[in-house]
Every structure is written in C-alpha cells, then in structure tokens.
Symmetry: C2
Subunit: 317 residues, 2 copies
C-alpha cells in the first residue's frame, strides 16, 4: 500500500477549484543570503492557513454519500482540525473533532467557526487516537487521520506538484517534517517527476524522531518534543509515512527554536509573510546554511501560517 505520482495527479484534480493554487514567492534578498535560487511555496496562504486542507479535502471528497451523511471524525490540536471541519462543511457533511482541553481559545473558535462539533480531552491522561476510534465506532463516523491515510498523503503531495509545475527543474526540495505526511506526498511527487531531485526534510532539534528513525532504519520513539514548532512536535513517525519516507527522503536537517524565530523575523521583515514556527523551519534551514553543498535551485514548502497575531508579536519581540 503506497502512494504514486498518479494518485497525486488524481488528488490535484479532486481539489481543483476548492483548494487555492498558492503563489510561489521569490526574494532576491533570500537568494543572496542562501546562495541559491529559492522558490517558496506559500501554503500559509492556503485555505485554513496550511497545506492540511489539501489532504483532508482529497480524503473526505472521496467518501460515499452515506459516509458523508453520517459525518466525519478527526483528532488534532492544530491545522488538521480546521482542514477537516472546513472540508466537511464544503461537502455538505458534518465533523466532530477531538481536541485537547487546553487548546488555545482562538483555535477552538476557528474550528467551531467552520461548523464542527468539538469534544475535548485531557492531553496528559487521554489517548486521542483511542477516543477518536471509539467516537467513530459509536456514532458511525468516518475517521480521517492527520497523515496515516493514502488520500491524505496524496493530497499533501499536490503542494509539491504545483510548485514543480511552476518552477520546472529543481535541484532540491526542502519540506518541514511532523508526522511525515507532507514530505511523503511531496517526495512522491518530486521524485516521480524528477528522479534526481534531492529531498530534504527539516525537523526541530528537539523533535528529531524522523531523523533518528531514518538512521536506525526503523521507527524510533523520542520524548514528546518541547519546541515552538508545535506542528512538528511528533514523537514517532507514522507507519505509512515512514515506509514512504525511508525510501524517498535523502536527508533530514535540524533547526533550533532560535533559528526558527530568526526565520519568522526574516519572513516578516523581508517577505512580508506571516508563518507559523513549523511553517518557517524550511526557511530557517536555508538561512542558516544547513544544506551542504548548497543546491543551485531550491524549492521550499512553507507549510502554514496559523500562529495568531498575539503569539506572533511574542515571537517577533
């Protein structure tokens, strides 16, 4: 069971006209600092503010009328929650999202704003996957996981497909890594189109589960990471995503929280873009020279921008 370039092309058709075709941003200042031609795929400008909409919509739009009638379930503290809520609404369905009780009020409000029902749990004692599975079973809902799902992974890959369609040949593609869905889809698209391209994942220093897992050749569990990059705070790679990534990802580089913070400042100062910390980790890798040797033409996926004005003010101060 894997994902192919054709699956990603199918996903691109499925989400056309619903997801945004996000712009590719260039900056001569960035090119000079990176010593390369850099192409930023601005998924912070995607609907719900992150690439997650691609995968959620691709998965949910393929359900049967009966499944849509009964409704969707998901667990997420972040962008996948909003992506599922909005996709369900767009498709005339309903969604129930399992979220930690201490989720910021603004994120709860955003999910409710898309019409979803929220069930909260205690993140220190509860098991969100078990709660989600139990909820789905008892109410007859279809569970859409954040990355362990072929249609979700194929949907995320459309970000890279669009990027390469616009830029032509690239020497490297740099992608933030959390659970591994974005990079699994993106690597599938990129290597399918350009087998020689170098696919580089970026993790926060404290959340290097995929880097360790690739080194070990098997999935390694780390302590729950403490990092400002909350979208990349996974403690173990997904099973399905890791099976793809160990085949297609060439290397993982790590960035510190301070390096991410500097990238957020650069994005605000020079690019006029708001990124969330996870979304800026690829940019941080470039600005700190983590790629060696430096490829000539580099695509970078900016994965999201849901940080909130108040939190952004803290991070930039």
């Amino acid at each position: 069971m894997t994902v192919t370039l054709q699956d990603i092309r199918d996903a691109a058709k499925q989400i056309a006209g619903v997801a945004h075709r996000t712009p590719v941003i260039r900056s001569r200042t960035l090119d000079a600092l990176a010593g390369a031609e850099v192409f930023l795929k601005a998924e912070n400008l995607q609907r719900v503010g992150a690439f997650k909409f691609r995968g959620a919509y691709n998965a949910i739009s393929r359900l049967t009328p009966q499944q849509l009638e009964r409704g969707i379930a998901a667990y997420s503290s972040g962008n996948h929650a909003q992506a599922v809520a909005l996709s369900a609404r767009e498709l005339g369905s309903t969604a129930v999202i399992v979220m930690p009780a201490d989720t910021p009020a603004s994120k709860l409000a955003a999910v409710r704003g898309y019409g979803a029902e929220i069930i909260t749990y205690d993140r220190y004692t509860g098991d969100r996957e078990a709660i989600g599975a139990e909820l789905a079973a008892s109410r007859g809902l279809t569970l859409i996981p954040p990355y362990e799902h072929e249609h979700v992974i194929a949907g995320q890959g459309t970000a890279a497909l669009e990027l390469l369609d616009e830029t032509g040949d690239l020497d490297a593609l740099v992608v933030p890594v959390g659970g591994g869905g974005l990079i699994a889809g993106s690597a599938t698209a990129a290597k399918g189109l350009q087998p020689g391209i170098r696919v580089v994942g970026v993790e926060p220093q404290a959340g290097d589960d995929t880097k360790r897992s690739l080194a070990a050749g098997e999935r390694v569990t780390i302590e729950v990471p403490r990092t400002i990059a909350d979208g990349q705070a996974a403690s173990i790679p997904g099973e399905m995503t890791f099976s793809i990534n160990k085949r297609l990802v060439d290397e993982i580089v790590l960035v510190s929280d301070d390096e991410i913070r500097d990238a957020l400042r650069f994005a605000a100062d020079r690019l006029k873009l708001v990124m969330e910390p996870s979304g800026a980790s690829g940019l941080a890798a470039l600005l700190t020279g983590k790629l060696s040797p430096v490829p000539a033409r580099i695509g970078v996926i900016i994965s999201g921008g849901n940080v909130g004005a108040a939190r952004l003010a803290e991070l930039l101060a």
Copy 2:
C-alpha cells in the same frame, strides 16, 4: 499636463520583468466580513516592499544615458527612498537620498544596502524639498520627486492596471492616499478602463488633507498629522496629484489608528500578510464598513509592508 491610460500602459511595458506582478489575494473570511467580493492587490509583496518601486523605476528608466551617468537625487523618509535607490542601481546609475536624521536605522540601512548615498537633515528645521533641489543643482543630479511627476504617477497606476486585468469588472477601487500619487495613477487606470467604477480614497483621520481639499475644491493645508500611518502623513495634497484626483476620485473615507491596528491584526491572523499601517488603511475601511452602500466587487490596493518585525510586534501586541 496630465496622465492618461496610455501613459500607464507604457509604464507597464517599461517596468515589465523588473517590478513584480504582485499577486491578488482572496479571503472568504474577508468577503464574509465585508459583505462583498474583495480582491487585494498585494503591493507589500512588491520589490522594496511597496508600490513605490513602480513609479521610481518608470521615471528613472526614461532618463538619458547622460542623466543616469550623473546620478539621481530624491528626498524621502520612507519607501520612495528605497525605490529610487534600487531603481538607480538596477539601471547602472547612482542615487543620493535626503533623509531625516531621525530615520530608523533599519530604513537607513536598507537604502544604503541598495548602494545609495544618504544625506541627513533635521526634519524640524530643514526643508527637504529645498535641500533636494539644491543638491540636484550643485551636483548635476536629476531629482525624482515622490509623487509630483508624470512618470511616477503613471508607474503607480500600473498596480490598478494589473489588478483590473486580473479581476475584470469591479464596482469600486479602494486606495490609500498620502501625497496622492498612487490614487492619481490608479484612478486614471481604473476610470480609463471602466468609466463607471467608484474610486474611493482612504486617509487616516488625523491626515485628512485630501478629503478637506476635495470638499473645498482646492488644496488645503492641515497640521502635520500624528498617525501610525506614516506613509500617509502628508499635510497638503500634491499640486499635480490633486488636479487629477479632484477629477477622478469619488470620495474619501477616514480610518482611525485603532481601526488600522485591527486591520494589521486581521491581516496577520487571517491573511498571513504583513502590512505597514499605511498599507492596511484600505483594508481597515472595508472591515469597519466605511463604504456605504457596499459595492459588490471591490479591489483594494495594499500599498506596502515595510514596518519591521520589532515595530510589527508592538503594533500587534
């Protein structure tokens, strides 16, 4: 002496491939709040971070080889300084910019970074226009004023030309007003293409010189405005710009500093865009329902994004 649609089309050819064709940003959340279809022309993503590059480049690129050889002069504390500095460098010329001694170090550094020479003056006792004219005369430089210049105005109008080219018919075009160059060029383009379009200028409450001047039928001088929208802190409209604007601008609406601040927060939260206060005044007008009746399809020029990460943090806090 005026500016025509043809002048703006010529300017578009002149800046093609040098200035960015900036993206037009849509947001369903914004549409819902404004009760209209809104199209944001993101000039904060323009080179040097503001529309000013369009006019400066259009003007400087038309100088003779002899003029370029001798060099350019300009006075500006803001985006026009960077626009002239970069345009001169791109055209193999040099620039001398007259700037207030208390200009933030980051802005001085940006102008120097584009290779320009800076001459500072005391903004409380000096007269920048006189200093600029004297400098130009003594050194044989060509002075490029920030808005009182046909090629500058025609260049700024290319922002509206591109916007309307992408959106098709609009019912209204909303444009921030400082010295009046952006709206003069944009109104010329918009009414040239769609004579029925409603052109709405936006000024900060404290800087309503153009609104008062339009009401009076002649240029009115106000006290130097105190507003966070530093790019709109003009105390009198330009002569050339006013002669165009009194003919083509339908109305001016005013926004308070607090309303601009809310718009900056909205831009960061929902649009993931960094705007400078002046750049967000059109958005502020929409979010606060200043247009009545509300047009169905509205274009808004987001004029710039040069605020700096530290200052942005203060404004968002």
